[in-house]
Symmetry: C2
Subunit: 201 residues, 2 copies
């Protein structure tokens, strides 16, 4: 399994306007979900995506997207935003399903990481971390934690660092969150399919 947790610092916690996805930068989160789950003409069934929504009016809320369960999802921002919007119409403390494979709950970063640490090895994606090409060989069931365009606040970062087994960097450049996700998958795919590539890794 692979999982991603993306922190949306200003991500809206109420149903939002599908014609203005840059409000709260919901567009960033939609792209992160798309890049976590989609390949050409298919969905990665072994992936889970978590979003932590910290914007107005009712933070924090968390969304869980389960690759093996989702249906009728397309990779465009508006389609994914529609599914998130539907989830935000539900009130829920514990995980509650809003559509196939999509759940919402009232969770903060600590709740989420305590829950996820039980099945995943927490990896923090930060620009000064270990080179992913060296680190990728040793990952087992990783959960990659990353921030949206604003990164992580100090308070959130402290909680992440408490749980993280590793800090990994994906590029010599500062990239967008969804680009980091593409690269993580790419490096992991190269390990998983190395026999196809005729590579010693």
């Amino acid at each position: 399994m692979r999982a991603f947790l993306i922190v949306g610092n200003r991500a809206l916690t109420m149903p939002f306007n599908l014609n203005n996805l840059t409000a709260g930068r919901m567009d960033v989160l939609c792209r992160c979900i798309a890049q976590s789950l989609f390949i050409s003409h298919g969905i990665r069934r072994d992936v889970e995506v978590y979003l932590l929504l910290l914007g107005e009016p009712e933070p924090p809320k968390a969304i869980r997207v389960v690759g093996s369960e989702v249906k009728n999802m397309a990779p465009d921002e508006r389609n994914i935003a529609g599914l998130l919007r539907k989830a935000l119409m539900l009130g829920a403390d514990e995980w509650k399903r809003s559509s196939p494979g999509i759940y919402i709950g009232r969770k903060n970063i600590k709740d989420l990481l305590v829950e996820l640490s039980e099945k995943y090895e927490v990896v923090y994606l930060r620009e000064d971390g270990e080179n992913i090409r060296d680190a990728v060989k040793e990952l087992n069931n990783p959960l990659f934690v990353l921030g949206d365009h604003l990164g992580l606040s100090r308070e959130i970062e402290r909680v992440v660092l408490d749980c993280a087994m590793k800090i990994i960097s994906v590029s010599p450049l500062s990239l967008q969150a969804d680009q980091c996700i593409v690269i993580v998958h790419y490096e992991l795919d190269r390990i998983d399919f190395r026999s196809m590539l005729n590579e010693a890794v």
Copy 2:
């Protein structure tokens, strides 16, 4: 310089509805432009993107996006779609500017590749090509040609193969066009910044 040419097999050649970007799969082309040009909080100034639009009602048309000239572009699909829509309001045979860094012209694949071969080394991205990790070290001013969700038709592919210096594969899996672009940048960045990574490449 790096450049990308994405073939939109059904991409609309008239101004389209911004609330329905999946018509003609304009969403795919918008994501390709975003992933070609954007890094975190910035634009890659050394990149050009070309789109070949082959859908109704007036194919073919081509769009050129110049990283060093674009202004007021954001990475969300709707913003980029708005700029493409504006370009499609212009009628033009030769390249004509519709907004900063965005040009439209009436060109087919052969016109485009003859023009672009003068300044770029044409590379065709196809799943059975050479492993990018081996091939990346030898690229100079590459123009990467790739198809949208439908790939390339035989007719188009024949023209591309006539001009291509190399055929390269970016992943053991079949990926979406925009994901291929992220990976191409990533591998090239690792070469360009190898001293920062302390790597022998």
